[in-house]
């Protein structure tokens, strides 16, 4: 069988991307970009004004000394950086797609691996194009509209923020709209299927961003929460299914889907409980209906309740029926950081580790209740259902713990370094005087030593001093200027880790890509299958799981990581 479909689509996508890169590089669309990226453009204007002023002064000084005008390099603003990134991505991916597209048009494919791999490129290009449009166009556009509507007094709230209309949610929505309105074109079908590979790669790479303490705390929390809610919802579904006289196969497949990780659990458990095609369709419909609904509702509720990343990640990781929407909800809640995603994915991994156990439980349950049931082999189930990508996640965690990617202290994205404090960020004499006046108010010797060190060096020298000054800043009656000085010194000593920042950027792209692709696999026809007794059971179990886990999280989970 030949998989590669001859179509000019890949070449066209490549040309569009390259054109976008050129428009950015040439400055032709600076007007549009300044509207889309208002805050970056405002930074750009400030940087420009400052540079012009510095250049003017330097030129005047040079002229007064009879020297030629100095050559100064303009610093890169956030706006310049954003445009440079779009140019780079446009040329890089666009160029590659044009070349591969031309190769496809001129090539006579024969059955084999090359044909299969090449056939995935057009679909991946389509998803990437959608990701560009959503991330660089729709996300800032809706952000601006939300603010404008609020500023105009039409609404008293920012609708884009409340409904989490960011690149993640809109990417998934774009995927759902494309598959249901236009259908996925034949040339893109194979590439769209690679979305799950990118999501798994994202989870594996995420392994680099945990500290051992973080992983231990989150792991324990997730095992307890998932243990209670997964086992509880499987048990409740089995009970309700029996009471409502559903066939055993229907009850079995529904309990896996509602209890563990949604559609993936349905796929894993269906053969074991000998589910009929209609029963599988009912289960998938119910799960997708709940999953997609929760992906929109959870982040809004999370913001209203003022939840932090750990609380929200734990809630979404436990309460959302379908695992694909867990990542979506976490990124929708916190699109520009990945703290929530880190928590939610630990819960997702714990869920999938529970999957082989639940499949075995259901197999035993089915054998007990159904005469025609075939006994399954314990070892075979455990090996076949074990999620291999979790090993990749563990390997990346182990590697990062050895400092293979960045120094150990960098994993949180920011690190402490006194040596790297810029001259311009050293405390000013006025701040030093304010701090000297507050020395007698220090409550512990550590605080006194730390403050003395800060006064002497105009910057924080050690991590221990930083900790001591954190508590010193909370002393009641401390002068506001002194408090501000401590805060400035703390800020100056914390630096962004470039390696970790790049990792985070790549992760955001991987998840964005994966979720758009998964959105393309959610059909309205599948959701429409939801109905009857499975929907009733799904609604009861789904609601109990969502509300129950919310209550537990609010009562017992603190922002401790």
């Amino acid at each position: 069988m030949i998989y590669t479909k001859k179509s000019p689509a890949l070449v066209i996508i490549g040309i569009v991307m390259m054109l976008w890169g050129w428009l950015n590089a040439s400055g032709t669309i600076d007007g549009l970009q300044s509207t889309l990226q208002k805050s970056a453009f405002s930074d750009h204007t400030k940087v420009n004004e400052k540079f012009q002023a510095e250049l003017r002064v330097a030129t005047e000084i040079a002229q007064s000394e009879g020297k030629p005008a100095p050559e100064m390099k303009k610093p890169e603003s956030k706006f310049d950086h954003a445009k440079a990134l779009q140019t780079k991505f446009g040329y890089l991916f666009g160029g590659a797609f044009v070349l591969i597209g031309l190769f496809i048009l001129s090539w006579k494919p024969s059955a084999g691996n090359l044909d299969y791999y090449i056939s995935t490129v057009p679909g991946m290009a389509l998803i990437l194009l959608i990701a560009f449009v959503v991330r660089w166009g729709l996300d800032p556009m809706f952000g601006n509209w939300g603010k404008a509507v609020k500023a105009a007094g039409i609404l008293s709230w920012d609708f884009a923020k409340i409904f989490n209309l960011n690149y993640v949610v809109m990417g998934i929505l774009a995927g759902i709209v494309i598959v249901n309105v236009f259908k996925i074109p034949g040339w893109a079908a194979n590439g769209v299927r690679t979305a799950r590979l990118f999501l798994k790669t994202g989870v594996i790479l995420l392994g680099t961003l945990y500290s051992a303490a973080e992983l231990a705390q989150l792991g324990l929390l997730s095992v307890v929460m998932i243990g209670v809610f997964v086992l509880g919802s499987v048990w409740l579904t089995l009970l309700m299914g029996r009471r409502m006289k559903c066939p055993n196969s229907m009850t079995g497949v529904l309990s896996a889907g509602l209890g563990v990780c949604g559609v993936s659990a349905t796929v894993a458990a269906s053969p074991v409980v000998q589910a009929k095609s209609g029963e599988i369709a009912y289960t998938i419909g119910t799960i997708l209906l709940w999953g997609v609904g929760c992906m929109f509702i959870f982040p809004t509720v999370g913001h209203i309740l003022g939840m932090g990343p750990v609380q929200f990640g734990a809630w979404a990781g436990t309460g959302i029926l379908n695992s694909a929407q867990v990542a979506g909800a976490a990124l929708a809640f916190d699109p520009h950081g990945i703290e929530t995603l880190k928590v939610a994915e630990i819960f997702n991994i714990t869920r999938v580790l529970f999957l082989p156990i639940i499949v075995l439980w259901l197999a035993a349950w089915f054998v007990k209740h159904e005469e025609s049931a075939v006994k399954v082999n314990l070892g075979e189930v455990l090996v076949a259902k074990f999620p291999l990508f979790v090993l990749g996640f563990i390997a990346m965690f182990a590697l990062s713990s050895t400092g293979a990617f960045a120094p150990a202290g960098h994993y949180a994205g920011k690190y402490f370094s006194s040596a790297e404090v810029k001259e311009s960020n050293l405390l000013k004499p006025k701040e030093i005087r304010a701090l000297e006046a507050e020395l007698p108010k220090m409550e512990t010797p550590a605080e006194t030593t730390a403050l003395q060190g800060l006064i002497a060096n105009r910057k924080i020298m050690t991590r221990e001093d930083s900790q001591a000054l954190k508590s010193a800043a909370k002393i009641k009656g401390l002068d506001e200027l002194a408090k501000g000085a401590i805060a400035n010194a703390q800020k100056a000593a914390k630096h962004d880790s470039k390696v970790i920042k790049n990792f985070r950027d790549w992760l955001a792209w991987l998840f964005s890509f994966g979720l758009i692709g998964l959105g393309m696999q959610i059909t309205v026809a599948s959701i429409k299958q939801a109905g009857g007794k499975p929907l009733i059971i799904g609604s009861v179990v789904g609601t109990l799981k969502a509300v129950g886990s919310l209550v537990v999280v609010l009562m017992f989970v603190k922002e401790f990581v």
């Binding site: 993936s264 796929v267 894993a268 053969p271 694909a324 076949a384 259902k385 696999q521 026809a525 009857g532």
Partner: protein, 155 residues
Amino acid sequence: MLTAKTILLAYHGTEGAKRAEALAYEIISREGGRIVHLLIVPEDVWVGMQGDDWLNNASTRDTYGSYVEGVLEKDAAEQVAVVEAHCKQHGLAYTPILRLGDPADCVIAAAREEKVDLVVIGPPRSKKESGLRSRMELDTLGRGLPVPYVVACGE
């Protein structure tokens, strides 16, 4: 009285399909005719059978794919056995056809290929009845069929 020598019967075991089958036997020529039994696996339902699963290994997905194919094959074999036996009882020739796609498009294509005189289908399923929700687009059917079609309405 309406009569036909070759009837295309869309049958997949539902209550409506059973009424369509009974009606087909009433209509078909007494001098011997042929029932073309069309079984459709709606493509939108089939495509959605793997949903947005992303956590499973390739081996689990393969097992699942083979399992669902096996289930559909078994269902189809059961339906074929039922209608084939009924046709035998009525002394009619029998041709089974299995298609994957949009229900209305499948009926139109099969009617053309098999050169049938009449198409008989069941009514849209009541919402209370369980089963797949894929609907036959009667409008598409009416515009595309080269022959008349009859819907076996009633209780």
